[in-house]
Amino acid sequence: MYNRKIRGPLIEGNRTLGQITADVIAPMEASPGTWWFIAFGISSLAAIFGFYAIYITVTKGIGTWGVNNSVGWGWEIINFVWWIGIGHAGTAFSIFLLILRQRWRTSINRAAEAMTVLAVMAAAILPALHMGRVWLAFYIFPYPNTRGPLWVNFNSPLFWDFIAITAYLLISASFWYLGTLPDFATIRDKTSSKVKKAVYGFFSLGWTGSSRQWIRFESLSFILGGIAAVLVVSVHSIVSTDFAVGIEPGWHTTLFPPYFVVGAIFSGFAMVMTLMVIIRKMYKFTNYITDNHMDAIARILIFISLIMGTAYATEIFVAWYSGNEYEMFTFFHNRITGDYTTQFWGMIICNALIPQLFWFRKIRRNWVGLLIVSLFINLGMWFERFNIVITSLTKDYLPSNWVAYKPTIIDIGVYVGTIGIFLCGVLLFIRYIPMMAISELKSVNSIGNKKED
């Protein structure tokens, strides 16, 4: 088939089926190593800092944050959009490549989906805290209540956002869990430890690998994949409408939905790359996550980076072309020049220019290069959200509303905390769940490896 010639073998080193199982399970059987404990320690400290900041926020209120009357959305919304964006790619990666029948997804999809679930969980903390009285968060559920019954506003993007994220979290978690069933069964049948047999046996739900189970499994994967692809696109479009329906200068634009979706996939793919480079290095999975895999992700990143660059240029062009003086002010005097030039130019350099280094084959094939560029993209995407949220709010139509915005230590704590929670989750994932979908790897084992191909 054509994909064999283009991509080369998907699994290198002529592994047998038994070796694939053994290789993927190996890190779960062995002691995790010093680096794992150090990383987990640091992540836990970050998470504890976060819990402290959350405790202060809940007990004292969001007055402990840097937000004020003009800048009602501060770091928490920036970080919420940032995390949701990262949380996009896992499922985007897995699902778009599934429905496009791109079989090189098999070594990466499991980790990407795990990342999605964890990032969306981290993201969900932030808007919940932003409600102020988080214990009343259930008010947003449309249920027959004693207040009327007054229903929620079904016309509001904030409500759409709430259901979209809840649905997205549940659906990506189920999609991910469905994929782990055959692998849990493999561990159940392979392990000698009684505890593991019981635990993985319980979570494998009685999987046997019969032809009846497999055909339903495949067909369910495609059903979930097909409909979740719609969800992936709609979730971040909805996040963007939270902004676009606001009449702040720099927000009120029809470009926002595609711009946000592409940006989300961009940051998520970058995060997938960061994690895969590290996992590949630490666990020596180069036979499974080959140079060709990393190369393919890098090529997608160049393409998306060009779209991002175009979107930035379009925004600026439209601000000028519309002739609207407020838009002109926001873009030309508050972003390109003015108080927030660092963030604006940081965004342009990290998102539109640095990824262009991937045009060079040497950088696409060098793990240090991949790691550095992917980290820059994540930083750049944070700058982008800072630009959108802060520059528009600090200086809107009335100069009497103009204020400066500075995060407090509590803002920083909440952010660091979400990073800590995310990393703890990732570390637990690589310790207790097979990092790659074992059964899917087996199904692509022969591709490109047989002599006749």
């Binding site: 506003n153 079904f154 046997t208 497999w214």
Partner: protein, 177 residues
């Protein structure tokens, strides 16, 4: 009920497939096959089909109708509120909620259907004929009720000749699958 099962264990996909073909040519009924990954040829040979896509379509239809009905009930009948001068039944702004809740309904209902049809749920212990089927072996299971001795021997012969690593007879009670 105690039954004897004849279990053929293969390490190569090709010999496993050709055994299924030959067993079917000899009209020997295959109980089921177990593989470490989905083998599409098996689905064709054993004529396995899944009705999940059709079911999912109807779940989706139900989701759309139920969501729109709910939105209409809350916004028009139960507690009408004017938001920004829009009509009570402001259909265009209901589309987003409808899409998402439909997707949600399809997911949950399809998962439930999958779980019920495949008999997969927490604590379920389906019979495992050979532990290696989730690792690196392809397993064919033929039921042997003891009435037809020649068919029984024929099945063993075919599987051994096609390159089975071993053919085991197992007596199992109350098979769950």
């Amino acid at each position: 009920m105690i039954n004897t099962y004849k279990i053929g264990v293969f390490d190569k996909e090709e010999s496993f497939i050709s055994s299924i073909r030959l067993l079917q040519e000899q009209k020997i009924e295959i109980y089921d096959v177990f593989t470490p990954y989905p083998v599409h040829e098996v689905f064709h040979l054993l004529k396995r089909k899944s009705k999940l896509p059709t079911a999912a379509y109807f779940f989706g239809l139900f989701g759309i109708i139920a969501t729109l009905a709910f939105l209409y009930y809350t916004s028009v009948i139960d507690w009408p509120v004017v938001y920004g001068g829009k009509p009570f039944n402001s259909f265009p702004s209901f589309i987003v909620v409808t899409i998402i809740l439909t997707i949600f309904t399809v997911t949950i209902a399809s998962l439930a259907a999958f779980s019920m049809r495949s008999k997969l749920f927490p604590g379920r212990d389906n019979t495992i004929f050979d532990f290696r089927a989730t690792d690196n072996m392809f397993v064919i299971v033929v039921v042997n009720d003891g009435t037809d001795k020649s068919a029984d021997e024929k099945a063993s012969g075919i599987m051994m000749k096609e390159g089975a690593l071993e053919v085991i007879d197992k007596e199992l009670e109350n098979v769950k699958a």
